[in-house]
Symmetry: C2
Subunit: 241 residues, 2 copies
């Protein structure tokens, strides 16, 4: 059931995905398009990289070295193939390891940016999840949780490095408290709504800075669809640039 | 220079204000319109009440007892007169005291809702502020700061009571960390933009619950103006209902 899909609108870029496991989503596109990539940015690491949409899209914005970390071997293989078919092997390295052991692979305090589109859902032993194992691990905090992600981003990042994330709005309080606990200051929040008439946001983009106080820029709200269900002009732009 | 202005759109309601000191703003209207007022709500307290716009507007939504706390005698006098002219003395009590001593006046843990449109700006000894004393105290954290407001809201509120606030977006990280420190869980965040084309929100409405974990509903974004500068339909509605 392996299928090769074009990565919409990113020129000739292609991405391998298996729809039975998961497809890359607009969440990853927003993360890769909104994360701060400074001119001085030399090294980026994407946690929970999946089939590598974030590294691939980031490579259109920067010449930085980009690392993608994926713990599941089957997904890692897809990511590897996507990097190879796009001839980006010299810029993007995919590593098949646990984010909790990341410093063994990449050392400490040398990265400018860590990005993460993490598993969104909390998990407890009794959780009744009707999904295959690979999808379950990608969507639920089975192998890693929010706190472990933030701890390891902190280890990898330089002083004043950026940590960028997309997540469900209901967890933003918890995220900000954990960022505070590990000495990150929240800097940017952007709410993402499916459409203008919706009563609540379905996603947030957040960015924090290591060893910094919180000082938030609340960015322009993103609306993914028009009321008739079509993609908004902004969504089309995010996929096309 | 005391002037009596109509409180726009709230029927016959009138509010006394002195434009040299300060006028009530859309911020207070949003706070009073978006705060959670349950059917079971019996007692509400508005900190830093100014000329009492929040109690006055809340009185159109609920039969609860409403207290407004104002430390500055001159502003307290205006609030008193506004309550009297609207014949709301039996529902709204304005108290001229320091929020930091509020439990001496109102006891502990008996309120369902505490609202606050606080001084927005941090203050340090050297701050160069070109404003008269009354305005300075209303806008800067001279007599009370965020932490003191949250501590005292915690003392006044019942278990699971609501604390609602409007503030500048840049301070939302600090606010959420303080809420966490004093055992509030953030529940609602609503960004307020001047207009759709703006690059960032100018205000946020936040609501938290005492003795609760954070679980955020990210509400529909508010746009105050159309691109041509006119009030948006929503703003007109907020002033009219």
């Amino acid at each position: 059931m392996e299928v090769q899909n074009d990565l919409l609108g990113y020129g000739d870029m292609k991405i391998f995905q298996n729809t039975e496991w998961f497809c890359f989503s607009i969440d990853s596109v927003i993360l890769a398009r909104y994360a701060t990539v400074n001119l001085t940015c030399k090294k980026i690491c994407d946690f929970c990289t999946g089939n590598a949409p974030v590294p691939l899209i980031l490579s259109t914005r920067t010449k930085s070295e980009i690392y993608g970390i994926e713990i599941q071997k089957e997904i890692y293989d897809l990511a590897q193939k996507s990097v190879a078919v796009n001839k980006l092997d010299s810029q993007i390295k995919i590593i098949n390891c646990d984010v909790k052991c990341i410093t063994d692979e990449l050392g400490i305090e040398s990265f400018d940016l860590v990005t993460c589109n993490p598993p969104y859902f909390e998990y407890s032993e009794g959780s009744n999840i009707n999904e295959n194992e690979i999808k379950r691990i990608a969507r639920h905090e089975i192998l890693i949780n929010l706190e472990e992600i933030i701890i390891n981003a902190g280890k990898l990042l330089k002083n004043k490095g950026y940590f960028s994330m997309v997540h469900r709005p209901d967890r933003i309080g918890e995220i900000i408290n954990l960022l505070n606990k590990y000495n990150f200051g929240i800097k940017t929040i952007i709410p993402v709504y499916a459409k203008k008439s919706d009563a609540h946001a379905k996603l947030v983009f957040l960015e924090a800075m290591k060893n910094s106080k919180p000082h938030v820029h609340f960015g322009k709200a993103i609306y993914l669809h028009e009321e008739n269900g079509e993609y908004s002009a902004l969504t089309k732009k995010l996929f096309q640039e």
